[in-house]
Amino acid sequence: MFKVKAIIKRRKSILDPQGKAAEQGAKLLGLNGVNSVRVDKMIDFMINSNDSDEAGKIADEFCVKLLSNPIMEDYEFTLEKVNES
């Protein structure tokens, strides 16, 4: 069994209005040094497999075909082997 943490990031070239809004919020809090805020997505899931190559392929396909939109987002993920129990 593998525990997967996928991070979906909007491409830097694309405006991130949520990040901009959060950045303005930081200014309202008086945190003037805060900049370059980006709001990304983190998605956790498990894969039933004992083979890390196979789990990696499944995770990659899930990220490419559904979790991210390759037109505007990049993704990365980590695999962590966990015990069945």
């Binding site: 909007r10 694309i14 405006l15 209005p17 949520q18 809004a21 559904l66 939109n69 037109i71 505007m72």
Partner: protein, 232 residues
């Protein structure tokens, strides 16, 4: 020939009845609902993917809807040259399904925008806008994620192939930053596929097909389709 329209219903569609009513009652077309789990478009001549929040817009707008069984049929129909229109959430579904290029992201203002806007028909389409190139129509929009995005290469391709059909403009047809309600690249409000048989648009023509509602400017698209199908 009176074209038969199929309006796809996803869980979370909320403009399906508006589309059905306009097509059937206002325009007199043979119209049917198509449940997203169906495996057939039931001899429809035109497919409408209506507005709404399919699957709650979870993950991304249209991301889960593209996996509905009926979308395989819609894809096959479109690839064979069948006429498909995606309105609002339907446009998002078409982009997610790769039937149209680009993506629709959150409005620049971060706000849900619901108001009448003006769009200019900037290209000729025998299917969707016969005889109205250059004209300006007042049509409502209602969306939080209608900000059309495409990389520069894709945008150039859209231009080269005359795929940009509608652009947001002011009352007089000037395409300005002030008339762009959501931050879309080049004020894009609607685009077509390369073959010109698939249209995606954020404005809602189905909401303005009745004189009694004070605006019937949306009719031109559906009448253009009827005219096109009659003459092929």
């Amino acid at each position: 020939m009176n074209p038969k329209f199929g309006v796809v219903v996803f869980p979370g569609s909320n403009c399906d009845h508006d589309a059905y009513y306009s097509l059937k009652k206002n325009l007199g077309f043979d119209t049917q609902f198509l449940w997203h789990k169906n495996h057939s478009i039931n001899n429809s001549d035109v497919i409408i993917l209506p507005g709404g929040f399919s699957y709650g817009d979870y993950l991304r707008s249209g991301a889960i809807a593209k996996l509905s069984p009926l979308m395989n049929e819609v894809r096959e129909f479109a690839e064979k040259g069948g006429i498909v229109i995606g309105i609002c959430n339907g446009f998002q579904i078409l982009c997610e399904s790769n039937l149209l290029p680009g993506a629709l992201i959150k409005n620049k203002s971060l706000k849900f925008v619901c108001k009448d806007v003006y769009v200019k028909v900037t290209n000729e389409s025998k299917v969707f806008s016969s005889g109205v190139k250059g004209e300006v129509f007042k049509i409502p929009i209602a969306h939080g994620e209608g900000n059309y995005f495409i990389e520069e290469n894709g945008l150039n391709e859209l231009k080269q192939n005359s795929q940009i059909l509608f652009q947001y403009c002011d009352k007089n047809g000037n395409i300005t930053e002030a008339s762009n309600p959501n931050g879309s690249v080049e004020n894009i409000a609607g685009i077509m596929s390369k073959k010109g048989n698939v249209l995606g648009m954020m404005p809602h023509p189905e909401r303005v097909c009745s004189d009694i509602l004070g605006n019937s400017s949306g009719k031109f698209i559906f009448n253009s389709i009827k005219f096109y199908l009659k003459n092929i």
